[in-house]
């Protein structure tokens, strides 16, 4: 296989989904229902990533006290609810994770 042909085609199928909607902005319009749905994309997509990166470890769902990613995520969630502050949330989550790693 020609590696550069592969890279070029990969670049194309990566770039087009990233570009096309933005490129057509102002020229094409979605139905109102879809428009409303697009507002939910950040919450939907980022929460899905959070779930897989914290509740799944080593290819298995791990909802236990041994899953430090999940505990740090829970602490971050509570701090985010209370403070609504990004850096406080990150600091609390990372501190929690660091302490768990350090003391166990």
């Amino acid at each position: 296989m020609n590696i550069w042909l592969l890279i070029t085609l990969m670049a194309l199928v990566t770039y087009l989904p990233r570009y096309l909607p933005m490129g057509f902005a102002g020229k094409a319009h979605f139905p109102a229902l879809i428009e409303r749905g697009l507002d939910f994309v950040p919450i939907a997509a980022l929460t899905a990533i959070i779930a897989q990166a914290s509740l799944v470890r080593g290819g298995m769902v791990d909802i236990s006290l041994g899953n430090y990613h999940a505990i740090a995520a829970l602490v971050a969630f509570l701090v985010a609810l209370l403070t609504r502050h990004l850096f406080m949330t990150i600091a609390a989550g990372l501190t929690c994770f660091g302490l768990l790693q350090w003391f166990t």
Partner: protein
């Protein structure tokens, strides 16, 4: 203070935790490509021209299993459909940008940059300078993705278990800090809950289709539970 330079730095600064989280993955990618004898030019070329972590890993895995070129390209396409949702979400803002700027900014539309740009739009919806903020985030992610690829390729397997250090927890907590303040109405909470449960249950679906499916299901939940916008 909306000077372009300040917005560039702000965008970069707020992407820092995500850059830290992505760095080990770049190293692992570089090391994996090196062990597959991909060569420095092709390895760095892939990071530089494709610039999509998940797609690059999946391409290597498929290459290792001797998959055919159309199969790899089709798979990478499916993996990237999620980014299409991001691009569509940004259409309202992109509509005001010249086409050449959209073409450039779209290239850098990763999970990370979309996350911080969404956060800014949520906190400061009418603040000018979004493009510079976006570009700052984008260039920071991009340069460190290249750097981590080179480090991984050069050092290879010399950094034991780097992916197991747990640096990816920085991404988890940063995304939580971005999503939670965006949860305002009941439909937002339902959307997040559906995404959480669905993505957990579908984690073993191939090629990140679980993420795509869960995102779409959660968006549909949001539509069903929200009121139509008044004109």
């Amino acid at each position: 203070m909306h000077t372009p330079t300040r917005q560039l730095w702000l965008g970069a600064l707020e992407t820092l935790p995500l850059v830290v989280a992505a760095f080990p993955f770049g190293i692992v990618f570089g090391a994996m490509a090196q062990s597959m004898q991909l060569g420095l030019a092709a390895t760095l070329g892939m990071s530089a021209i494709v610039f999509a972590g998940a797609s690059q890993f999946i391409a290597l895995t498929l290459l290792a299993s001797a998959a055919m070129l159309p199969v790899i390209v089709a798979t990478v396409f499916v993996v990237n459909l999620r980014q299409m949702l991001y691009s569509a979400n940004l259409m309202h803002h992109a509509g005001a940008w010249p086409q050449w700027q959209r073409a450039i900014l779209a290239f850098f539309l990763t999970d990370e940059t979309f996350a911080v740009v969404s956060d800014r739009l949520n906190r400061l919806p009418d603040e000018p300078g979004l493009r510079w903020y976006y570009l700052g985030s984008a260039l920071f992610m991009y340069s460190f993705w290249q750097l981590s690829t080179i480090v991984g390729f050069t050092l290879g397997g010399q950094i034991p278990g780097l992916a197991d250090w747990g640096l990816d927890v920085a991404m988890v907590v940063a995304f939580i800090g971005i999503v939670v303040p965006a949860l305002k109405q009941r439909a937002d909470w339902a959307c997040a809950a559906v995404a959480l449960v669905s993505a957990t249950l579908s984690h073993d679906w191939p090629y990140q289709t679980g993420l795509l499916f869960s995102s779409l299901l959660a968006v549909a939940t949001g539509i069903a539970l929200s009121k139509p916008k008044s004109l």
